[in-house]
Symmetry: C2
């Protein structure tokens, strides 16, 4: 059976979902919904209708799972509880501190409608969460570490762009190699913010701008940069476009733990991602969990779920029998 996917919001993430759906033979892109003028939205898939978000309820019967591709700051807190009233939905809500509230809102609406809402799907939260939980369950006497990067932080890049005299900027979050190595050796250091990550900024300034002032403002910016060792490189717009136009990211979840009657044995579990495109990988995770949402709904299950609540086999296009024979 083909799973009919709808996409709400056609930015980098929405386009990534479109590409992911194309790679999954059991899925088809049924429609894209947008806040923009539909005719202005350049979808890649031939013959895929683009509708205004205001028309979305007319297309309820054409969609098995709606993938919400908006942002966590203002879109998803409203959209996910709203659209789970009418659709099975999957979102990538990633404001960690607000997940419990978001979960409660979505769960209530989903249970009332009989739909499934899977929230916080992606790689962190998402694949990294899974690995934190598996490793914590297996090695209760241990310590876990999450490192991000090397990769582009959109939020930090935006913060630099707001500084007077800055034309454009790209900020990379970089794990500190010495910290990563210590954790990998099974040591359990207490690491400050500064000891875990550094921040590297590539900045295009206006002609004649006060570069020293810009650099100072970046390095002293509270929350974003003040707690980190930050380096600033001023480059030309051409160089930024040539060498920093991608959205790579990645990171590491590492847990080390001890076993044995006298805690005499050490174990290190490491999960890492190296991603050329952050939004496209996130989109692939969303597509896999859309398959799970479809299957759970077929089984009559409703409510809000996270990646922690979903059996791995539900994500995979292969049958249980194939999985046991070939991948177990």
């Amino acid at each position: 059976m083909t799973i009919r996917i709808g996409i709400l919001g056609y930015g980098n993430l929405g386009r990534g979902v479109e590409c992911a759906v194309r790679q999954n033979e059991d899925m088809e892109l049924a429609a894209v919904f947008t806040r923009r003028e539909p005719a202005q939205v350049p979808v890649l898939t031939a013959n895929t209708p683009v509708y205004s978000i205001h028309e979305i309820l007319k297309h309820q019967k054409e969609i098995d799972v709606l993938i919400l591709c908006g942002g966590s700051a203002t879109d998803l807190p409203v959209q996910t509880p709203e659209y789970v009233k009418y659709f099975n939905v999957v979102d990538s809500f990633d404001t960690h501190a607000n997940i419990p509230q978001h979960y409660a809102n979505v769960d209530k609406a989903a249970k009332e409608s009989g739909n499934i809402g899977i929230i916080s799907v992606g790689w962190d939260p998402g694949m990294f969460s899974l690995n934190r939980v598996y490793a914590d369950a297996i090695l209760p006497d241990g310590a876990s570490y999450t490192f991000w990067g090397r990769g582009v932080s959109q939020g930090h890049s935006d913060a630099i762009r707001r500084i007077k005299g800055v034309v454009d900027a790209r900020q990379y979050t970089v794990p500190v190699p010495a910290a990563l190595d210590a954790v990998r050796r099974g040591e359990t250091p207490v690491l400050s913010t500064r000891e875990k990550h550094t921040r590297e900024c590539f900045v295009v300034a206006e002609p004649g701008a006060d570069l020293a002032a810009i650099e100072k403002e970046i390095k002293e910016m509270p929350n974003y940069f003040a707690d980190y060792d930050t380096t600033v490189h001023f480059i030309s717009l051409e160089e930024l476009r040539a060498n920093h136009s991608g959205i790579p990211h990645g990171g590491f979840v590492i847990r080390s733990g001890k076993t044995g009657w006298e805690s005499e044995h050490k174990h290190v579990v490491e999960y890492s991602l190296k991603l050329d495109s952050n939004p496209e990988f996130t989109a692939c995770v969303l597509a896999a969990y859309a398959r799970a949402a479809f299957r759970l709904h077929q089984d009559g299950i409703s409510g809000c779920k996270t990646v922690l609540d979903i059996a791995p086999a539900l994500l995979c296009r292969h049958s249980g029998e194939e999985l046991r024979r070939n991948l177990l």
Copy 2:
């Protein structure tokens, strides 16, 4: 509520489970069952009863989950379908080719009895299977690789010990660094058996034994060594005991895949384990899945399950709310 664990079979794995149970505050070791004379079995936990396997059915009411710590060759194919008639069970059956048959046998008996049987729990099959399935589901256009080691292969060590003139031996399986590096770079090489792993043997020979003949017999042994580049080191018994008495192991599951409309972006997902003690880590995984077996049975679910069928949250001592707040 405390989960009352029984252990059947008290070798390296059984002792590992005993240590794991001690680390999990919501578990207690209720009893150890053995084929040996119970008085001869030196359990570590004070006041834990040791019973003969022949008495096991008398203790059905004292055990929530029975962890089967026998071998995959002859013990588990018989024990798991047998004891799931009376207990929720977890095993570490690891003969990949026979998993479908073992699953069918356990599923039938488990459904008849209303119990849960979780099979093939450990790290491969087990954690490595999970990572193969997750990565396959997320990156359908890709290739997966599993490397084992550096670690002791019990089967290969035993094969060497059976050679005339050999007193004792330890065999390490070692991934080939160049192959590992190529896969990590996101290349998708076709690798022969010889290109993926080498085998390193530490052998203690009888005084006056024909070392050249032993080395030749090892290197030409079909299935075990003939398809690999194998090195043989003759060492003293003292050196073997001093430097090769542990049972370390580990390995890597790596998937690389492409995304984007033109497959223009590459992604590498890597999961790795570095284990001081293979049986103790396997035991920790068994303990976590025993928790899941207990919870599934409480929910009225029966039948055979594998790690692929079980939601991660079920493994973890923390509540769903705690997980969403702290680990998601």
